[in-house]
């Protein structure tokens, strides 16, 4: 160990900060609720730009063998095939083109015959780098499982938080997580970014990351509840957020650094996935500081944690009113 010199790190973050997060909790709540409602409205009005996974149809990524791809020419040629509207867009470099064929009326076999027509029309000038065909049965199933997966992920997390903490923490977590998922989805809807199976994976990961943040703050709140039995709840929540702030920001920065690297260099195929994750990390960090913890200030929380979580039901049922400090009613 003498090989490695001893040097201290750059402790950039001021300690013992007391940023008054709780003072602005009303404002933050208002903003967050507004953001959720706006996101819902956008999703309601604009809907999602579903990818092949959820909408069905075909996607072909081709690369021109001879110089840059002639998008206009391809568009004209493929739209004359009688397979409905064919979307053509360049993808990454100038030689790469993404071709989308909408879902054909009829059944599964019609998708395949449309694909065959397009593939034959492409000829030898283009190499097919990726082909995805999703039939009507599978696409509706994937839509369903995608939705269920996000809902089940949310429930699994809430159940765990409830089990480990108290229902107030679980409620705070579910509001914060719903906020994260809704706002991320809202941004995808607003800019009509392609929404496919990988975005569902990203949403699930955002859930995981955001709850991770929330749990760290909640853990500190629980610890401080044991330590400072008489501290006013709002002050205690504020202290806990401040104490964990350096960690929240550092971890956030690391995650963002890694995700920016993935976004920039990870290739075209997972670009949208990485974008969703980036958005989610930022929104998730915000939500655990500005939604989950402040919500506890409204809900109130049991003050006596000296018996540890195991002993809580008997105690809290014995004297429910005297042990709960309800700040909201004050």
């Amino acid at each position: 160990m003498r090989l490695i010199p001893n040097f201290k790190g750059f402790d950039f973050f001021p300690h013992d900060t007391r940023l008054p997060f709780m003072r602005y909790k009303g404002l933050c709540f208002g903003l967050s609720i507004a953001a959720m409602l706006i996101s819902l409205a956008i999703i309601g009005i604009k809907g999602f730009n579903y990818g092949v996974d959820f909408k069905g149809g075909s996607l072909i990524e081709v690369q021109s063998n001879q110089g840059p791809a002639d998008v206009a020419h391809l568009r004209e040629r493929l739209n004359r095939l009688g397979v409905g509207a064919v979307q053509i867009q360049s993808f990454g470099g100038p030689t790469d083109v993404l071709i989308r064929v909408e879902q054909q009326p009829g059944g599964e076999a019609e998708q395949q015959s449309a694909l065959k027509k397009v593939q034959e029309a492409l000829g030898t000038q283009y190499t097919q780098r990726r082909v995805e065909v999703v039939g009507p049965a599978v696409s509706s199933e994937l839509r369903m499982t995608g939705f269920i997966a996000v809902a089940a992920g949310l429930l699994a997390i809430v159940a765990y938080v409830w089990f480990r903490f108290e229902w107030q923490f679980a409620l705070g977590a579910i509001v914060a997580l719903t906020h994260d998922v809704l706002v991320t989805a809202g941004i995808f809807s607003l800019f009509q970014l392609e929404f496919d199976l990988s975005i569902v994976a990203a949403l699930l990961t955002i859930l995981g990351y955001s709850v991770n943040d929330t749990v760290v703050v909640s853990d500190r709140i629980r610890e401080n509840l044991r330590k400072f039995k008489r501290m006013e709840l709002n002050e205690l929540l504020n202290l806990s957020i401040n104490e964990t702030l350096s960690r929240t920001i550092l971890t956030g920065c690391t995650a963002i650094a890694v995700l920016v690297a993935l976004y920039a260099f990870g290739g075209e195929v997972i670009r949208n996935f990485n974008l969703a994750m980036l958005l989610g990390v930022v929104i998730g960090t915000y939500s655990s500081i500005f939604i989950a913890a402040p919500l506890l200030g409204y809900l109130g929380v049991r003050r006596d944690w000296s018996g540890g979580p195991a002993a809580k039901p008997v105690k809290s049922q014995a004297q429910p009113t005297s042990q709960r400090l309800n700040v909201a009613s004050k």
């Binding site: 160990m1 490695i4 010199p5 001893n6 040097f7 201290k8 790190g9 750059f10 402790d11 599964e108 076999a109 395949q112 694909l115 065959k116 593939q119 190499t127 097919q128 780098r129 990726r130 082909v131 995805e132 065909v133 999703v134 039939g135 049965a137 994937l142 269920i148 997966a149 992920g153 699994a156 765990y160 938080v161 480990r164 199976l197 990988s198 994976a201 699930l204 990961t205 859930l207 995981g208 990351y209 709850v211 991770n212 749990v215 760290v216 853990d219 104490e243 960690r247 550092l250 690391t254 650094a257 890694v258 995700l259 690297a261 993935l262 260099f265 990870g266 290739g267 997972i270 996935f273």
Partner: protein, 537 residues
């Protein structure tokens, strides 16, 4: 902060095993084959999106399974009633059931008794027999209906899927791709994954055909067009033409011989016309049936039917007793070859349709690996730089922990045989971010404890103990999320969930235990440091 020598050894050996397990990934397959046998040589397998290949999801037309079964039940019922000498005025399939109308209603009792012999219990190893596969009901005026039950149908479908998987495997293997994976997915689907395959047209042709070959007797006097104008005699059916030369034919519905009695089929050339044909050979019983039939029908035509379409209807010149023959029917060399493969590998129990297709060409896969590597390196350097900058010497320990984390994650994935996909790389990177979080939690806590005036040993110890509760909580919630993804997810989500899970599991060991051991060594060699402020964190 104490490690017994045994514990120290265990941690170090675990790390070394991890390194040993990932070593094969840095060498080519040829180099590996020359390694001694005790050295692990298993490489991390890459998913289809990284190495290139075809992924096809096939759904079975279960209505065909039902129809086939109803036809079998109808033939069986007819045979049984005829043997029991019970007269019927009508016997056919309607409303997903076989309906029998008896000539004399008073026969109903005897008929039902006879038909009960067809009922079979559905075996279930766990709960014993759980019912019968068909139900026989008596209606009014000598009407008897035989209805398949839902469990009976499910049982048939399950068997059909099993048989179809075997057939598809034989057909895919005939293409010379050894690593194809063919597995059942859900209740009535089959997933085919063929690494390295780029052009799926051939594969789709090969598995797209049922290839049910049958040899039928042609109606001796009535032609198909005559039957279309008048009526089709009972037991006969009009089969449409499959090729240009042959017209539709009126054939006896029950075939003389079926394709499942073939023992061999090979593409060949006709010795006179030189056009591509398929030469085949029957097994003993098939040869006997075919021989007897041709002996009785010399100078009459018979029809060869493929998937309910007539492909040729030659006239029998002389009895064919040897059990071999050839099929001609305007084939090209390619289609003859394909059909021969399909016939050799047996018919599919029902038609399979492609409900999902994902193909990635090798060039895109290689590009994805390259960009994944680049992003990994850039992300890794950023993480290391940030950690060392913020936590100094202890930051270096954290980075060692991160490397162990990476090594063990890849080692576990290799051991578990799970393949790395593009979303998997993202999961791996996210796992690294989570591992960093564990170290950030610990170090922030240590700083806090030291600022509160604790001695180096006490502060570090308290930091690890207190932070661990939080780490466990946050990792477990993420784990819950990963399980949901694996359980419900399809394709890309699953690959992501697997790497994320493995990453979380190894991060506890790598970021907590390994880093703790390194700090333990640091404490031993820096006994001179007495004040918390001197700890290089």
């Amino acid at each position: 902060m104490h490690f017994t020598p045994v514990k120290q050894a265990a941690v170090i050996i675990t790390c070394l095993i991890g390194v040993l397990l990932i070593l094969p990934n840095f060498f080519s397959k040829e180099t590996l084959s020359s390694w001694p046998r005790w050295v692990p040589t298993k490489q991390l397998s890459l998913g289809l999106d990284l190495r290139g290949g075809a992924h096809l999801l096939l759904a079975m037309e279960t209505s065909e399974v039902r129809k086939d079964w109803l036809d079998t039940l109808r033939d069986d019922a007819r045979r049984r009633l005829r043997e029991a000498k019970i007269g019927v005025t009508g016997l056919g399939v309607a409303n997903n059931a076989v309906q029998v109308r008896l000539a004399k209603p008073e026969d109903a009792e005897a008929a039902v008794k006879e038909l009960r012999g067809m009922v079979q219990p559905i075996g279930n190893l766990l709960v014993g027999s759980s019912g019968s596969d068909i139900e026989i009901k008596r209606g009014e005026g000598g009407l008897i209906t035989i209805t398949p039950t839902e469990p009976g149908l499910q049982h048939r479908i399950a068997n059909a899927i099993g048989a179809a998987i075997e057939t598809v495997r034989r057909r895919v293997d005939s293409m010379g791709t050894a690593e194809a994976q063919i597995v059942r997915e859900g209740r009535e689907r089959i997933l085919v994954q063929v690494p390295g395959l780029q052009d799926t047209a051939g594969l789709k042709e090969l598995i797209g055909k049922t290839a049910r070959l049958t040899f039928h007797e042609v109606h001796p006097t009535i032609s198909a067009s005559e039957a279309r104008q008048t009526r089709v005699p009972p037991g006969y059916r009009i089969y449409e033409a499959g090729s240009r030369e042959e017209g539709a034919q009126l054939l006896r519905e029950t075939p003389v011989v079926r394709g499942d009695e073939l023992v061999d089929a090979q593409p060949a050339f006709d010795s006179r016309t030189n056009e591509p044909v398929i030469s085949f050979r029957f097994n003993n019983s098939g040869a006997r049936k075919f021989g007897n039939f041709t002996k009785d029908h010399v100078n009459q035509p018979f029809a060869i039917v493929l998937d309910d379409q007539v492909i040729s209807a030659p006239v029998i010149r002389e009895p064919i007793l040897g059990g071999s023959g050839q099929i001609s029917g305007s084939f090209t060399v390619e289609t003859a070859n394909q059909l021969a493969i399909q016939l050799r590998s047996g018919a599919l129990p029902a038609k399979l349709t492609i409900v999902e297709e994902r193909t990635v060409g090798p060039s895109l896969g290689a590009d994805s690996i390259e960009s994944g590597k680049l992003a990994g390196i850039v992300g890794g350097i950023a993480t290391i730089a940030l950690t060392v900058l913020v936590y100094g010497t202890f930051g270096i320990f954290a980075c060692v922990g991160l490397m162990v984390h990476g090594v063990l994650t890849v080692a576990l994935m290799t051991l578990a045989g799970s393949s790395l996909t593009l979303p998997g790389i993202a999961g791996l990177v996210l796992g690294i971010a989570m591992a960093v979080d564990a170290n950030v939690l610990i170090y922030e806590r240590i700083r806090e404890e030291l600022r509160a005036g604790k001695s180096p040993i006490a502060g570090i110890d308290a930091g690890f103990t207190r932070a661990f509760v939080t780490i466990a909580d946050s990792q477990l919630t993420t784990l819950a999320c990963a399980f949901v993804m694996f359980w419900l997810g399809a394709g890309p989500i699953r690959g992501f969930a697997v790497t994320l899970t493995i990453g979380i599991l190894t991060s506890i060991f790598a970021s907590v235990t390994v880093v703790r051991l390194l700090i333990y060594y640091w404490l031993r060699s820096n006994r001179g440091i007495r004040r918390g402020a001197e700890v290089p964190v």
